[in-house]
Symmetry: C2
Subunit: 393 residues, 2 copies
């Protein structure tokens, strides 16, 4: 891999290395420009989303120790665009002495869902009933005990609905068991909606939590975020925020991370409750609203956190902010579509990732903010649908 | 000059060329990232403010026709970081057929203050009394007619108080007259404060004007901007906004431009009035508040305007936004100072330009917004002073 030193701003400003050149790395560039920080991105290719907008974006692989070590030499701190760096590469990276955030000891709870469940359970935090299962018989026993259907997950590598299945009977999982290894079986909780708690924590222990949001999924992919979550029970909000902050401390998580939770309606007038669904140790899709909707965006905050700079104000800037994800659709000429949308809605904030269109691929998002939630939802939905080509006017 | 094609995002997105790699070009990069536009910056050197944050930033001179033409070949539209491109270079650039915004015919009114005064006077727009003067006798006659002191300006090349003098008697200008050429003499109007009107206009004629702001100058350099201008007379605001929009149309200005005006108090209870002081045909220091204080920043709007994309909402996002300019001070290690400020004020938005510190040089600005104007002014002032090293706690 060819490596050169990134040019940095004079005045003592550091270089932040990001492993992976996807949209999360890309969206760190605007706050880096403002804060005079230099990004250095280990990119999958010269046309990676972040490589299009960051001057220093060497091409290399996060799976290759040599690439990662050569890259890390030019960084003052290293963080991640994704959670897929293998444990041996992380070990070698840490051994170089360059600060790495989040640390591998924390990151493994986002990489391994069984390790996450074990730790959350040990901490007494609310989880669905769960078990590791190694064959159809163990799965059948779990389902018979906790009820069908069962949510079955591969412990590693899942995202955007991949690596997750809803199983009505044990034989449906035969193909996954045939691959070998343990699977994670979870109770299918009767949730009313999905929420996400976004937190930032710095190495010196400062932490901040944004208002809890509601996430709307379609086919396992987040399509809409409402910030804050409408009508959220204040005691649930306080408890879930405390849970996320406690997790951050107990697991020594650094940087921005998200806790995805299921809200479970109360019965007979009792208060709603929740269980933790997933952890993500990086800026998260549920936090894209913060770019336009919070005093400090998750991307600015992530840079501050991994540099152990003081964290920014996480207050909202509007009554409501609605984020709509833009997925790849039927045609690839986005520019004419976006010209139309800019004319239709002068308050729409479009964020595109410079990625080629593939059906279902996350290629951007839109944010709108204001006082009328239903109006905002309609505008965000229209814009996302128009860019996807599913509405044409 | 070595030129390569900038990598652009797939989907039909254009390349915006900017001549000059200063902070105005740099601050176009965050909205370009969001909008999936590719910037191409003709930079003074590899460490120019914009070159540090834009992947495609060839080094060349805006004074060299060959450099500018080679650069323009890789752009879908060309605009400017500054107003210093000579007329012959502009002519050659336009002859290539690539769209140039603002056009040379408009730009000359920002480059030549005498041409500007002639045109404004012909349009019947409010100006101070003015005349071109070629020697001390003509200056003395102007001063005796309109009163002393007189504001004397070089018609070209002035900025940040350079090229402007306040003259109490004609012999004080002997050195400027010795250089030859006409000077612009202007009546020293008894203004109460300085205001700025920021406008965007697209080639197809769409225009939008932000709320008028108050600018505070120290030694001829803008040090503070209050948005909107406190207590501004509504009829003056409406009239000045109309004047700026009319100018945009009459001069066929494209892109973002600023009209600097003097507010003149009414006598005996009459309404205040104003005269036009200067024009700037580019994003302007008086508009930096829009990055955090308006739905659409002047940098996003400039990109939209020069591409003839629909313009964005220019509404304010807070009751008040205060901008404080950061000037270079006594020490150059900004990073420790900024770490302190981030801790002191979690709502402070810092924008640094990646420039080396020289005393008096504009190296960044800060924005704060909220409901308490005096609190905001104190916070912005403290942050700017702290980065300059004139306060130490």
């Amino acid at each position: 891999m060819q490596v050169t030193s990134p040019r940095r701003a004079p005045g003592g400003f550091p270089v932040v290395g990001i492993i992976g050149g996807g949209q999360l790395a890309r969206m760190c560039q605007p706050p880096a420009v403002n804060l005079s920080l230099t990004l250095n991105v280990l990119s999958e290719g010269p046309d990676a989303a972040a490589a299009l907008v960051v001057p220093s974006a060497p091409v290399g692989s996060h799976l290759e120790i040599d690439d990662v070590l050569a890259f890390a030499k030019e960084c003052d701190v290293v963080t991640f665009d994704h959670e897929h760096v293998p444990a041996d590469v992380l070990q070698a990276l840490v051994a170089t002495g360059v600060p790495v955030h989040p640390k591998p000891e924390a990151l493994r709870f986002a990489q391994d869902k069984v390790a996450m469940r074990e730790r959350l359970t040990a901490l007494g935090l609310p989880c669905p009933a769960w078990a590791t299962v190694h064959d159809e018989a163990e799965l059948a026993a779990f389902g018979d005990l906790h009820g069908w259907p069962v949510v079955l997950k591969t412990p590693r590598g899942g995202y955007d609905g991949k690596g997750v299945r809803v199983i009505d009977a044990a034989p449906e999982a035969a193909d996954w068991f045939a691959r070998g290894g343990a699977l994670l079986a979870e109770e299918c909780v009767p949730f009313s909606r999905e929420l996400a708690v976004l937190v930032a924590r710095s190495p010196s222990g400062q932490a901040a939590v944004w208002p809890i949001v509601q996430t709307v999924q379609t086919d396992g992919i987040c399509t809409e975020v409402l910030a804050p979550a409408p009508g959220l029970d204040p005691s649930l909000a306080a408890d879930a925020s405390q849970t996320a902050l406690r997790l951050a401390g107990e697991l020594d998580i650094t940087g921005v991370f998200a806790v995805e939770i299921f809200e479970i309606p109360g019965t007979d007038g009792s208060a709603p409750s929740y269980v933790v669904n997933e952890l993500a140790m990086r800026p998260h899709n549920s936090g894209h609203w913060t770019i336009d909707g919070s005093v400090t965006s998750q991307f600015e905050q992530h840079l501050r956190a991994v540099l152990d700079l003081p964290l920014g104000d996480v207050g909202p800037r509007a009554t409501w902010t609605v984020m709509g994800n833009v997925l790849g659709g039927d045609y690839d000429q986005l520019y004419p579509a976006y010209r139309h949308l800019l004319a239709r809605d002068p308050g729409l904030k479009i964020h595109l990732y410079g990625k080629g269109v593939r059906p279902g691929r996350k290629i951007g998002h839109v944010n709108v903010y204001g006082d009328d939630l239903e109006d905002l939802r309609a505008r965000a939905r229209h814009a996302a649908d128009y860019l996807e080509g599913t509405v044409t006017e």
